[in-house]
């Protein structure tokens, strides 16, 4: 007599996943991100030339605008832009993802500890976070990069950039995590767990952290976008690793050729825009999915 109720997963994550799937722009964003990741992973196989190769110079096509053989054109120095953009994809994604992960780890640790404990520990952590938050991050990143890049081995340049970016980037995340921890800390289920004998560490990691995951996931996605943009600025200004192809480096070269070879600045820039756009759309979609605000 009654309609059979469908059995559907009703967990918070299942609901969020369904909402995400229905969000067109979120799906487009995820597709874009997947595309770039694919390009990045396959870069050594799909790029026509090796990284930083001047081969086209010897083929006599240096300085040519986009053509069928060289879809993004060739720099006056002989570097094929299409090839370099592909190589850059791998490197920029690496920086973005690695820096985001490292930042999240530091940010969560600092934010959760600072938000959970009371008293001097919390105050000191808050102060340190504030200092790092107020610092003009880009300026010090540039300075650090300039000083330390000459000290590292070839090949570790990008990793150093990742470390520097995280070193100056964790404070925003730490603030948000701190806020969330403060909010969750006062909730009844935490009091209940404490009354059942849970100690601080257990409370923190098994009860509080899982409940602040939603905003954390959203932030992670969005800061990947931010770090890619920052890396691009750093390399553009010439403070990045000059031996590793990144989109920023290409833009730096493009800027020198601004009057003659407009294609060198255009295409790497488009790559940045679309990859960052992808992460932003994905992040927005996650935010909507995890924080429903529909009317009943």
């Amino acid at each position: 007599m009654r309609k059979k109720e469908e059995r559907r997963g009703a967990s918070q994550w299942a609901v969020a996943w369904r909402r995400f799937r229905r969000n067109k722009s979120a799906l487009i964003g995820t597709a874009m991100v997947a595309f770039f990741i694919l390009v990045g992973v396959l870069s050594p196989y799909i790029a026509p030339y090796p990284p930083r190769s001047y081969a086209p110079l010897y083929e006599g096509v240096a300085g040519q605008p986009p053509s069928f053989q060289h879809p993004f054109g060739v720099e006056s120095s002989g570097i094929d832009v299409f090839s370099e953009v592909i190589h850059g994809t791998r490197n920029d994604l690496y920086v973005g993802l690695a820096a985001a992960i490292l930042t999240m780890i530091i940010g969560i640790a600092v934010g959760a500890i600072g938000g959970y404990f009371k008293g001097l520990v919390s105050d000191v952590i808050l102060g340190v976070t504030q200092v790092f938050f107020v610092i003009p991050a880009l300026l010090l990143i540039l300075l650090f990069a300039r000083i330390f890049l000459q000290l590292v081995f070839k090949g570790l340049g990008l990793t150093l950039i990742v470390l520097i970016l995280s070193f100056f980037g964790w404070s925003g995340t730490a603030f948000i995590v701190r806020g969330e921890t403060l909010r969750v800390r006062e909730m009844d289920f935490v009091q209940a767990a404490r009354s059942l004998g849970a100690d601080s560490v257990r409370l923190l990691f098994r009860h509080i952290v899982p409940n602040i995951l939603s905003p954390v996931i959203v932030i992670t996605t969005l800061i990947i976008a931010g770090f890619i943009l920052t890396e691009v600025v750093v390399s553009f200004l010439g403070f990045g690793d000059a031996n590793t192809t990144t989109w920023g480096l290409l833009l730096n070269e493009g800027f020198s050729y601004i009057r003659t070879d407009w294609w060198v600045a255009l295409f790497p820039g488009l790559a940045v825009v679309f990859s960052v756009l992808g992460f932003n759309l994905m992040g927005d979609g996650l935010s909507d999915a995890l924080n429903p605000r529909l009317r009943e």
Partner: protein
């Protein structure tokens, strides 16, 4: 006695991404001037949306798609937006459930009250301020002068609700909708606020519509009751008869769910959940949760039938069932 408000076969639907939500699906309700009626139902039954429809402030994506609404002899659905605006807060008003969210957090009490007075009554700022003071006194707020300059977040729940009532009554409306006015308040404050409403109604000669899910409030304040479920009317009657001789299984269940000192049996819960208003159940909309449901209840919409003078019900089986009321 003339009917101040007459709603006939109202249908208000919400056109959402997930589907069309039939929040109000054929509701008819009326009130005589000077009386108090109750509209009872669970959340999602359409009680608030009915009030919003009368004032025509149904939020997007909702729209009134059918029905007539007559107020004081005039057809409200035929009026222009500008004409409706003149009536809102002036001839008809609403007191909302949660005073914490129904008052604007960034303006003082004085500003929120005088805004309306200036709008409808054309008073000067000074006159409006004095009137606002008088209103605060009338709703029983101690030290009204200092409260006038306070912000909502500085006041207790009970006081905020009194101010919300003052705001609703500031232009002496003919019709007042009280949408769960005490649900968010402490139990001790609830009685005070209800008494205040009763007193003010007598004083102003207002017509009041009490929207609630609490049968206790219905018993205390109303003369006639309309019972709603899933956007439709289940039963309508004067209050005493509804309590002593309910004709609809849903009404019976509501009455059984109210605790009383006298009774010794355990409270009964109405099984099941509120129905999906996008795809409501076929036939009688209450049948999935009705203990008396039979085959016909699933297949056919019940008719609106007269039980006795002033007592109507929408149920296939009301003649056969012997339902339990309370005294």
């Amino acid at each position: 006695m003339t009917k101040l408000l007459e709603v006939t076969d109202l249908r208000t639907y919400f056109f959402t991404e997930a589907g069309v939500v039939k929040a109000v699906d054929g509701i008819s309700v009326s009130v005589e001037e000077g009386k108090t009626i109750g509209i009872v139902g669970e959340s999602g039954s359409g009680k608030s949306v009915t009030a919003q429809s009368v004032l025509r402030i149904v939020p997007r994506p909702g729209k009134i798609v059918d029905g007539t609404i007559r107020f004081d002899g005039e057809d409200l659905l035929a009026k222009s937006e500008a004409e409706m605006r003149k009536m809102r807060g002036n001839k008809m008003a609403v007191v909302f459930q949660d005073p914490t969210t129904s008052l604007n957090p960034v303006y003082t009490v004085r500003k929120q009250l005088t805004d309306i007075l200036l709008l409808h009554k054309g008073l000067t700022k000074d006159q409006a301020g004095k009137t606002a003071l008088g209103l605060l006194e009338k709703v029983g707020i101690p030290e009204p002068e200092s409260r006038l300059n306070a912000y909502p977040h500085e006041l207790s729940g009970g006081m905020k609700q009194r101010i919300a009532i003052a705001r609703a009554l500031s232009c002496e409306p003919k019709l007042l909708f009280a949408d769960e006015p005490t649900t968010n308040l402490d139990v001790t404050i609830q009685a005070q606020v209800l008494d205040l409403l009763k007193q003010l109604q007598k004083e102003y000669g207002m017509t009041m519509v009490m929207i609630t899910h609490d049968m206790g409030i219905v018993a205390d304040m109303t003369e006639r009751v309309t019972v709603l479920y899933a956007g439709k009317v289940m039963e309508e009657s004067d209050t005493t008869t509804l309590f002593t001789q309910p004709a609809h299984p849903y009404t019976e269940a509501l009455l059984k769910a109210v605790p009383s000192v006298a009774q010794t049996r355990s409270l009964e819960v109405i099984p099941g959940n509120i129905p999906n208003l996008i795809e409501p159940p076929t036939g009688c909309v209450f049948h999935p949760r009705c203990r008396y449901a039979k085959d016909i209840c699933m297949r056919q919409d019940p008719q609106w039938e007269k039980v006795s003078a002033g007592h109507y019900v929408a149920c296939h089986r009301w003649r056969e069932l012997k339902l339990e009321g309370r005294s």
